[in-house]
Symmetry: C2
Subunit: 473 residues, 2 copies
């Protein structure tokens, strides 16, 4: 004891800063940890969390959900118009958007702009005013993509005449969908809706979609997990960087497309469109991730997060064990790199269904595979590696289908456990594009954000309630 | 002093192992370093080396050579038959091979097989016996590719009717060449020469070459350094791994090919061939590297290595300051991973001109960019990173055009300095394929090898002589 107290003391303080300050005032040497109690210090949620930790019902459910996620085999099987793929959309005039449900009044600029664009595209309106009026009178129905096994990047708008990628999970036969990527510049998903945007959408509907449908039919089914796994070894994280994956897709699709005997000019335009857009694979990556997470959904008592999505105002999550219920909180800001002449004041809030990639263990969770992504979203390759490592502490397990060369081929962290997020205060990291807050300006940057803690805390409470009921049965 | 000798002693021994053994025998704790004197302990070469270190003539020459290497802008400008691109080849029946000069009698199996194949392809012989007879009587001339600004992987055979990639260094107008990659399996470059191999060569001459010539003309000039730099950010090291680079090339070439209005069946076969071979870009990478190193060649007194190449028996190097002179030594063995049912006894010695990639700072020097390469050549991602770091100690500088994400975007080590190799005893590391020693079996593995030290020691002596003469002028 004498030896101990004769040495200079170093104090580590976890908790209130004032404890540290007092010691520092009298000349002590203190390291203050940025610690805070679990569940944002909410005592009831903390008790709920405590009731769920190591709970056998939850553990068992997570094993089942994780196994279903790991066993999912998402395969590209077809290209269909939304009205065919999702018949409910034709029964009433329906437009799907990204993120959790939200009313027109509360929507952000880019999403409103994109909905107007989709109505002009469908011929449901001829002006912005008419479009807005029809939405407000309830003639047009707005619903989340996720309510129909679909996902869309940024505004995520899907209207009945738009073509969709059709992905089937071969393990359970369940289908998932995503729209086609329009490329960069003035595009609907960032809220642009001028003639250029509409003409591109018409062309995608009339020429691109039939060509890709024919190519997919010619190719037969295309397994997406091996393709994504290969792209992870080629510098993609298949969310914000899809250059390699797009190349790998092109390599498979083009020979099939050439075998379809379409007019050469048609083929040339399709090839120019695909090879001109390094993000073309993103929507397929998202739909594949949606298929994997849908496989894990609806396992009673499971604490695995099956959806993370943003509507430009709120961030929403769903848990496997609480089914279709959304838990929402205002979206966090995106820290990132802005394109020249733009800054944080120009940015819309975090937007889009693309966080389904992180939900499935890629994107930000697989950043270590993509050191070059930091040139796009900011930071250093070491940050990228650290993000992938940190995510391992909030997941149920890892996915051996997706390995990270920079971490000596370690599998990605996967199966976000809402209990671990709330207990450890570590939020899922998300790579994302940044939209301008005004409709139609487009992408103004890219960066890294996190899911907001309150939705995880709310989810804990709901899950604890469900588990408590389950115990009594 | 008392304190020092009262502590348990740990001895570090650099040099003769017997010093360490003696201490160990009496119970001492010794770390024996694997040190050896520079220049393989050759005293004369060691004195030559000493005369060259920090020599102003050499330093000045290296600055010039390095600048020319860094400023090289290799651009794909054309596809031509060897007889057009290298007119000397038509004047007499000439076949080019990889590595330093070697007589038919001394050649290894795969190179002999490939030469016979080229003669069958050219119609210069109808049987192996006839081919061998014509070579032995001197009717056919065998010369290294490097004597004509050309490079070829493995056997590296180029005969007059074969199509070549034509690369131009836009900085000095100098052209360099490489043949087309045939893919894997039974191929000429591994010494196969059966009907399947010849039919593929006929098709490459008659359909692939005209199509690619038309596509390159349609595309205009294609800068290769930016494409290689991008591939280094996508998991390639552009020697043993070219999957991303081939994808990036395809993305540029295919739209141009489609715009050439060739018959659809022709385009389909060309596309199937290119998209079916992840090594297709290798030969372009090699020719681009050749252009960069040719730019640095022939600077009097420069100690920069401008060629490393293997003929299946000897490893040869050339220095900038000693012009066209070859320095040769028996090739080292390749340590690597063998395909099932093959082993080290089946392997041919290190073979091919592809070490031009390492000479130019990519390949093994850029392994840190390609952690996934270790799945192909053996080792761990950490080995790959260490190789890239270690090469920094034997080069004149670095190449900011080629950066390595895993090393926080550090530029690759480039401009091998023969003085540093000999002084530090660190050999250039080379990623390479492994050929079966019998003609025609093909590739049986891939791995890592090093250039043999004696050729660097010989080069030191020759350079010292040149510098000594230079001093007297």
């Amino acid at each position: 004891m004498n030896t101990l107290f004769n040495q200079p003391l170093k104090v580590v303080n976890a908790g209130l800063q004032s404890f540290a300050s007092n010691i520092q005032k009298v000349g002590g040497d203190v390291i203050a940890l940025a610690w805070q109690p679990p569940a944002l210090g909410n005592i009831n949620a903390g008790m709920d969390l405590a009731s769920l930790l190591r709970h056998p019902l939850v553990e068992q459910a997570n094993n089942i959900a994780m196994e279903r996620y790991l066993n999912a085999q998402p395969v590209l099987v077809d290209v269909m118009y939304a009205s065919e793929a999702i018949p409910e959309m034709s029964e009433r005039k329906c437009i799907l958007h990204s993120g959790p449900p939200i009313s027109w009044e509360n929507m952000c600029g880019p999403v409103k702009g994109a909905i107007v664009g989709a109505m002009l595209f469908e011929g449901w309106a001829t002006s912005h005013e008419e479009a807005e009026c029809k939405v407000l009178t309830g003639e047009i129905h707005l619903e989340p993509c996720h309510h129909y096994h679909a996902v869309g990047p940024m505004a995520g708008i899907i209207s009945p005449s738009m073509p969709l990628w059709v992905i089937e999970n071969k393990t359970n036969g369940q289908r998932s969908f995503s729209n086609f990527n329009e490329g960069l510049g003035k595009v609907l998903r960032f809220g642009a809706n001028n003639e250029e945007v509409l003409n591109r959408l018409f062309w995608m509907r009339d020429e691109l979609a039939p060509a890709l449908k024919a190519a997919v039919r010619q190719l037969g089914e295309l397994e997406l997990k091996p393709l994504m796994a290969q792209a992870l070894h080629m510098g993609d994280e298949v969310h914000n960087r899809n250059a390699a994956a797009t190349g790998l897709l092109t390599k498979r699709l083009l020979p099939a497309l050439l075998a379809c005997h379409l007019p050469l000019e048609n083929v040339q335009r399709v090839v120019a469109f695909i090879t001109g857009n390094d993000h073309f694979f993103l929507n397929l990556s998202m739909a594949a991730c949606k298929a994997m997470m849908d496989a894990a959904a609806n396992v009673p008592f499971s604490s695995i997060v099956t959806v993370m999505a943003r509507n430009g105002v709120n961030f929403g999550i769903r848990l496997s064990g609480t089914g279709e219920r959304w838990f929402q909180a205002p979206a966090n800001a995106v820290e990132g790199l802005f394109f020249p002449s733009y800054g944080v004041d120009d940015a819309a809030a975090d937007l889009g269904d693309s966080a389904i990639t992180e939900t499935a263990g890629v994107g930000g969770f697989a950043m270590a595979s993509s050191p070059a992504i930091v040139k796009f979203v900011g930071g250093t390759p070491a940050d990228a590696t650290n993000n992938s490592r940190r995510m391992q502490s909030i997941t149920v397990g890892r996915n051996p289908a997706f390995t990270l060369p920079a971490l000596n081929f370690a599998p990605t962290a996967a199966g976000i456990d809402v209990r671990k997020v709330v207990d450890r205060g570590i939020l899922p990291v998300i790579n994302t594009g940044i939209a301008h807050k005004q409709a139609g300006v487009g992408q103004i940057g890219a960066g890294i954000t996190t899911a907001p803690m309150p939705c995880f805390v709310d989810a804990i409470t709901a899950l604890a309630e469900a588990v408590s009921k389950g115990e009594k049965q």
